[in-house]
């Protein structure tokens, strides 16, 4: 009887060897999976979830609004750049630009990278609404980074002269570069491409620099924007008393949406379709304040916020306005 050979099978062991590049791919895949899941859950929960905004914040990246490439080269737009608890508004008419305020010092990277991404090397006009550091903190950097044709300054004779080193450095740079300056006065007009930036009012006598803020009106084909810097109730009352206030499609919330400003009577006079609040996430001042948000609701304005939406762009399109946000929302509205 043939001896039955017992067959023993041995499993060959294949040790798992992962090359560094495979490990990297694996880690990236896992990272994307986690981020994707968290974003998905955040979207479903509606609020309190993890959003792209949080992701960009964590990476300290200033994302450009999605879909912005749709704005044509000869387009008209207002860019409310996410500079945290500060202000920087870029007004665009075709290939000419005006920057109103320049954020705080810590937002220099975000502001300059936004200007670079837009391909901006020259500003037709740079506006200082008032000399607080959350409006001029990166102004020296802007002056050194791009060519500025002219600077519009507030009427400093209406307040004790500002003295901070931040302010002094901006003035040093303007003087060193021999850039023409103009002090704001009601009735002035500046041409930006096909648009006009008008000074409707130039602040009130004050020892609160917020109230040096000009009331500015940007009128471009298909787009009207009202900007009042950090002007408080006194500035709004002065404008109501002395100006014929035009209707605006867009209002940059005064003083980051503070209850010191954004009075109902002012909002009723300009009847904005959109209000954009430039403020930092979880800022310690509680901006935007509830009272201001209520007033925006009372005039039927849609509110966009840089702390939630990232940078916001509102552009004129053929039959109205189109909003673009870094958080991905995109919405078209027919002109009212």
């Amino acid at each position: 009887m043939a001896k039955r050979r017992k067959r023993r099978t041995r499993r060959k062991k294949y040790p798992i060897r992962i090359t560094p590049s495979q490990g990297l791919v694996f880690l990236l895949t896992a990272f994307c999976l986690v981020i994707g899941l968290r974003l998905g859950l955040g979207g479903q929960s509606g609020e309190g979830g993890f959003t792209w905004r949080d992701f960009y914040d964590a990476l300290q990246v200033n994302a450009m609004p999605q879909g912005l490439e749709e704005v044509p080269a000869d387009g008209q737009a207002a860019h409310f750049i996410d500079v945290g608890q500060a202000d920087a508004t870029l007004l665009q008419s075709g290939q000419e630009y005006c920057l109103v305020d320049a954020g705080e010092a810590s937002s220099e990277e975000a502001l300059l990278s936004y200007l670079d991404a837009m391909g901006i090397t020259r500003l037709k006009l740079l506006v200082m609404t008032h000399p607080h550091a959350d409006h001029i903190g990166s102004m020296q950097a802007v002056l050194e980074h791009v060519q500025v044709e002219q600077v519009l300054l507030p009427d400093f004779d209406k307040a004790p002269y500002p003295t901070t080193r931040t302010f002094e450095r901006v003035m040093d740079t303007i003087e060193q570069q021999n850039i023409p300056t103009v002090t704001a006065k009601p009735g002035q007009e500046f041409t930006i491409g096909e648009a006009t930036l008008s000074v409707l009012a130039n602040g009130v006598e004050t020892d609160n620099y917020n109230n040096l803020s000009q009331v500015l009106f940007f009128r471009a084909p298909g787009l009207r924007v009202m900007l009042t810097g950090d002007g408080e109730t006194e500035v709004e009352e002065d404008a109501l008393a002395h100006c014929e206030l035009p209707q605006a499609d867009v209002f940059k919330a005064a003083h980051h949406g503070s209850s010191t400003s954004n009075t109902l009577s002012f909002l009723q006079a300009i009847r904005p379709q959109y209000v954009v609040v430039s403020c930092g996430k979880d800022n310690s001042y509680g901006h935007p304040h509830q009272e201001a948000l209520q007033n925006y609701a009372l005039v039927g304005a849609q509110v966009l916020r840089t702390d939630e939406d990232g940078s916001v762009v509102i552009a004129a399109i053929e039959d109205g306005l189109q909003c673009y946000t870094a958080s991905g929302g995109q919405q078209a509205d027919s002109a009212a």
């Binding site: 607080h132 550091a133 002269y161 003295t163 931040t166 003087e175 103009v182």
Partner: protein
Amino acid sequence: MQELCILDRWEGDTAVIEVSDEADLTHWQRANRGELPAEAREGDVLTRSGQGWQVDREATAARREKMARRLARLKNRGNP
């Protein structure tokens, strides 16, 4: 230069103070309204002592005068 502290702004009851150190690097400090003299105005030069801040009137006047001269030089150098 010596440390230079200047009241940049009031945000409600919070004072936002610009502090420039010996190397002229800028830092920011916040203080409650009660820690500053009631008459403190934006642009005032401040000094620290103990828990509170005082206004340095002489230094404030000197800086306001310096900036007045600067602004007079720059004023309306452009054409509207």
